[in-house]
């Protein structure tokens, strides 16, 4: 194997394009390891960490494209790899039609498209703040998808946005639907009278999907970024958006979604909730029920519960906490009995492999207090995944966290990370696999297909040991999503995967199966 590198100066491509390209080329015969990236500090560190950097890297700038590959030259040449890179990038450029004029700066874009009112920023984090500042100065609303933006910059930019009466959604804001237009990762849902402000991406997606499935629709869905409700930012964007929905004649019911906020921020939100005439449904996942009720708002026990309550309030119907299942209890019992009967006595462990961060959070909150679950988002420090004893125990992972996405796309874009975890973390001791499948704009073309492929392989592998396994999933998607909800569910069910109507119900069914397992036959 030899290490070879090649550099193309002044040729900029976005990170997702290059990460997907790297993954394609890694499959080539004769390639042991390979990285294609822009010469940013982050990528250079990554290449050094992988042993893929040479002295060529000393002069790289963020505008230079590099290819670094460990190859067996008897099988594949560096020239062939360079040609493959060029082909891929040319094809990607050709997919744009001729009419796609691409200005080179925000200023020229604004001249080209007068009346622009929203700027979507997903450039690398260290360059994002300057672009956002320019957009806000030009009086434009911003959705900032980029992560790795310093909290001081976030505060400064949000203060400026509030001063100017603008939205500054983010950083690390994954989802929004403004005036019916889904931005970044969002599901295709009908328009309606329920407005959502969310500080957590897939949590917000799950609520909008459930509202759509219940027959109602969304007026506006505003993302704030995960840090907004922390002390440093003070909920600037949650408050700005909440007040906008209160004033919006198109919104009759407001839903707020977040992990538990800083108490001082929660207090501000409760104060606004108390003094507003519209019903407010709040899911501060694991948040303070009493304080929410005292503010005259409606507390929730899950994302699905939030959607159900919002719909019932809108329709003027009575509501209570939704703790159970859409299917009758007797049917759930039959499913549990049938599934547990598949398992051998040495199959005891849970593998919950999530691509959606908030869905993983919800699973941890609903399950983590009843079972010892090792996780990268543990409920207590001793349950951190690093402390997993000899690989044995229950595991729940948020595979979208930074430690799993360094140098590779988020698993909602590219399911490969989860495919690898299926291979490395599921074995003859696994009893239950719990997964999410997130459809919608931004997501992979067929996430259900990727899960189905992995489960098929696991079934084959376990059947040689005379074993079977329980696989439970939910699909965060609608009939309007391009991946097609019905098709996705069918793809999963063909492999014997039980598809529940929500993440909360999938988690609850997992709990029932595990309880039944522990009770024994």
């Amino acid at each position: 194997m030899t290490l070879q590198t090649s550099v193309k100066r002044n040729a900029y491509y976005d990170s997702v394009t290059l990460m997907l390209l790297s993954r394609e080329l890694q499959k080539l015969e004769g390639v042991e390891d390979l990285l294609v990236g822009m010469g940013t500090d982050l990528n250079i560190d990554l290449a050094r960490g992988l042993g893929l950097a040479t002295s060529d890297f000393d002069t790289l700038t963020a505008n230079d494209l590099f290819i670094a590959a460990k190859i067996n030259e008897e099988i594949v040449s560096m020239q062939a790899i360079e040609e493959a890179v060029n082909d891929y990038l040319n094809k990607s450029a050709e997919s744009d039609s001729d009419e796609d004029y691409q200005p080179t700066s925000l200023d020229s874009a604004l001249q080209f498209m007068p009346g622009a009112n929203m700027v979507l920023v997903s450039v690398p984090g260290q360059y994002a703040a300057a672009e956002v500042e320019d957009a806000l100065d030009a009086g434009l609303h911003v959705m900032l998808f980029s992560n790795n933006v310093p909290v001081e910059d976030e505060l400064r930019l949000k203060q400026k946005a509030v001063e100017k009466g603008l939205l500054m959604m983010g950083p690390d804001c994954g989802t929004a639907i403004i005036n019916g237009v889904p931005l970044c990762f969002a599901n295709a849902v009908r328009r309606g009278k329920i407005g959502v402000v969310g500080a957590s991406g897939t949590g917000t997606q799950e609520v909008t999907v459930q509202i759509h499935r219940l027959g109602e629709g969304l007026s506006q869905v505003i993302g704030t970024g995960g840090r907004d409700l922390k002390d440093q930012i003070g909920g600037l964007m949650m408050i700005q958006s909440f007040e906008a929905l209160i004033a919006d004649p198109g919104t009759d019911v407001i839903v707020l979604i977040s992990k538990p906020p800083d108490p001082s921020v929660a207090e501000k939100i409760y104060r606004i909730a108390k003094n507003n005439p519209k019903p407010v449904v709040i899911d501060f996942i694991g948040g303070n029920k009493g304080a929410i009720e005292a503010a005259g708002a409606i507390p929730c026990i899950s994302l699905e519960d939030a959607a159900q309550k919002a719909v019932k309030v809108l329709r003027g119907q009575a509501f209570e906490d939704f703790k159970g299942f859409s299917l009758p209890e007797a049917q759930i019992d039959r499913i549990v009995e049938k599934e547990v009967a598949k398992l051998k006595s040495d199959q005891t462990e849970l593998r919950a492999l999530f691509t959606g961060g908030t869905l993983a959070d919800e699973a941890m909150k609903l399950l983590g207090e009843h079972y010892n679950i090792y996780s990268n988002i543990p409920l207590s420090p001793e349950m951190a995944i690093e402390n997993l004893p000899a690989g044995r125990g229950n595991i729940c992972l948020d595979l979208g966290e930074d430690e799993f996405t360094r140098g590779r796309p988020h698993p909602m874009i590219d399911p490969q990370t989860r495919t690898e975890f299926f291979k490395s973390h599921v074995d003859g001791h696994t009893a239950v696999i719990l997964v999410d499948v997130v459809l919608g704009f931004g997501s992979h073309n067929d996430p259900a297909g990727a899960v189905a492929d992995s489960v098929r392989e696991i079934h084959q592998q376990l059947s040689s040991q005379g074993k079977d396994i329980v696989v439970i999933s939910s699909v965060c998607g609608t009939d309007l999503d391009r991946q097609d909800l019905t098709k996705s569910v069918a793809t999963l069910e063909v492999e014997g995967i039980i598809v529940m109507p929500s993440n909360a119900q999938a988690v609850r069914l997992t709990d029932r199966v595990m309880q039944r397992m522990m009770k024994g036959v």
Partner: protein, 58 residues
């Protein structure tokens, strides 16, 4: 333009960064433009700081 004014308008989006977001918007028929963005000053911090200072003077 306030947030509530935005709610009354057709959304027109300038996309800086991941091209797939632009493609999704185009597919939906949203008025949008993709900026052929690259880091200013070759992404070099010193040069960027200098540029930002110059812009502020302007």
């Amino acid at each position: 333009m306030s947030v509530n004014d935005l709610f009354k308008q057709e959304l027109k989006v300038v996309n800086l960064g991941l091209k797939s977001f632009y493609s999704d918007l185009r597919t939906q028929g949203v008025t949008t433009v993709h900026v052929n963005w690259k880091p200013k000053a070759g992404g070099k911090k010193n040069m960027l700081n200098l540029l930002n200072k110059l812009n502020k003077i302007k």
